[in-house]
Amino acid sequence: MVHGELWTIKDFFVYPNEYIYWSIQIVMYPFMTGLVAGAFVLSSLYHVFGFKQLKEIARFSLVFSFALLPCAPLPLLLHLQQPLRSYYVFMTPHFSSAIAAFGIVFMTYGMIVAAELWFVYRRHFVEQAAALAAKRHGLLEELLYPLFTVLTLGARDIGEAALHADEKAVKFLAATGIPVACFLHGYAGFIFGSVKANALWMTPLMPVIFICSAVVSGIALCILSFIVVSKLRIFINSWKLKYVTGHLSDLKLKEAELAVVTQTSHYLLIFMVLAITLELLDLIFRGYTAVKSWDILRSVIYEKDFFKIFILQYGLGNLVPFILLLLPGLNLRRIVISTTLVLLGVFMMRWNVVIGGQAFSGSFAGFMEYRLPLLPVSFETFREGLCGALFIIGMPYLVFMLLNRVMPVFGAHEAE
């Protein structure tokens, strides 16, 4: 069977070779990079612009952004027909292609986040290394000691002046990171926006739309994950209080947490307005100019994909959370619901761009419908199906759990 034939349903006239070649994993790719970029921008709001209210969530989102980072290229890897050749992109980059820049942009960004994290957690590394050097009994300590020693990179000075220098470095890196994060994601938008053969994708607004929705999704996921992680901590703490003696902290978590997420949700609103404005501008402009492709685009947008675009994306994903967040008396439950809906909205936006862009034939005389493979009956249906997508969504949490062991998000000393 030809690649793509499994999940493509053709209607009316479609060129014989046309199938939905870019499927769920290509929806996941901009969604994941968007989360990476958005989480980083959120942490930078605190580090660079000094939004003090974001202190708690800033550290969380920085580590989370780093955890998301290795998961961002995974969908691409799962999508490639020749995944073992993926490193050719680094070996012989063909720079007239937008994808060729991927390696460079991704690596640059990764290094910036890693460096920033190192400066934030240097004090913690040094203290851990010193503490572990004093008591090395168990196997775990024997393993952790060299790890933390290496992580200090030999810079063991944690005097006043050295820590101050760390702070400055964090601020500098966070500031350089913002344009790079925007570039990382704007460039994902460019990959689509520059395809002149695709009437839906080709617009110079695409990178900007992608950046705005990236920040929206990143902030939303950080808020949501922050709440979930905090809840878990409260749960664990109360359990410890009950059964283990000696742990008597974090009882006031609840109020502090609500204040943090309420503040953060205000920034979420600002970026949401920006994202929706641009998306609607694009839609209105297409309708108003009504070039050759508008006839088929209109039937895709207003008929075939109406439910996905206007109900799921704009309605449930934008309008409902917007109202929920603006109504007075904001509480945690409402924030959880609205951030979940925002994430759904951004995911649907990616879906409607990637799959929607392939919902019509290049002949403008026919349509293609995408049927997401649900059960992984073969490797093909796993990697380009629901299970592959869920695997990608789950990965960052696993990475975060591991990272959190080394760089604890809560309760460590760090450079501010």
Partner: protein
């Protein structure tokens, strides 16, 4: 403790050492590709399709599939024929059942999910049979978007795919406005018509040209003024497909109509 001089020395040593393996990487220079394209070679392969002569027998598709080892029953093809049926009320019905590999054996028009459309003979005002293949564009978007340089344009204008280097990202398939590219079901890399480059290189004609019993398909060298194909292209009203994309396609059509997509 290291002093400044030692530090500088060692930094240069380490950086230099790291640069050595980097020098082994070959960086593709788009300019060099461009230079190759605009070189004053003696050959520029172009194609001429005469729509008036095509009857939709599908011999070209058959020949192509066999010649180029595209699995016979796979629903993809390097070349195909489209049928346009235009009725009295201006409706345009288009189909290309199984890429027209077996010709158009039914008067019913394949509308895919919408089944077979029937049109009464007296309602039909115009029928066009349009062979399609890669346009070997002068400004090929597929070459532009390939992230690893696995698809490239030869000096004589034909766009080729390196099966050993293609990573299968599908960006070229997305970038082609003509829908000529697909994933080869066996090799799992991008695949497309290359005018039977292996045949051209050994002095033969493309398989579809040889297979066409009516002379609807012709291949020629645009840089040879005495080539019959060049003569037709330069003296008769010919048209190309989707000119608006700026790809400068090099497959020319005689008798092209506005209904053709």
């Amino acid at each position: 403790m290291m002093n400044r001089r030692q530090f500088c020395k060692r930094t240069i040593l380490v950086a230099g050492g790291m640069l050595l393996p980097l020098a082994a990487l070959e960086l593709f220079d788009p300019q060099s590709l461009k230079a190759g394209k605009e070189g004053k070679g003696k050959t520029r392969w172009v194609f001429l399709v005469d729509i008036h002569k095509c009857v939709g027998c599908g011999f070209c598709v058959k020949a192509c599939k066999i010649e180029n080892e595209v699995p016979y029953d796979a629903h993809v093809s390097r070349t195909w024929v489209e049928r346009y049926v235009i009725t009295r009320d201006g409706t345009v019905l288009i189909d290309s059942p199984n890429s027209a590999r077996d010709g158009f054996i039914s008067t019913k028009i394949d509308q895919n999910h919408h089944g077979m459309a029937e049109v009464k003979a007296e309602e039909i005002t115009k029928v066009l049979l349009v062979p399609k293949l890669c346009n070997q564009c002068d400004n090929p978007p597929c070459v532009q978007v390939c992230p690893v340089g696995a698809t490239y344009q030869t000096e004589d204008g034909v766009v080729l795919v390196d099966r050993k280097w293609c990573i299968g990202c599908g960006y070229c398939i997305m970038g082609c406005p003509y829908g000529v590219r697909f994933f080869h079901p066996v090799y799992n890399v991008a695949e497309k018509c290359n005018f039977c480059y292996h045949r051209l290189s050994s002095g033969m004609q493309s398989a579809c040209v040889d297979a066409c019993p009516f002379g609807a398909r012709k291949i020629g060298n645009l840089r040879n003024p005495d080539d019959p194909v060049t003569k037709i292209i330069t003296t008769e009203p010919v048209a190309v497909l989707k000119e608006e994309y700026g790809t400068k396609p090099q497959v020319f059509y005689l008798g092209l109509s506005m209904e053709v997509k």
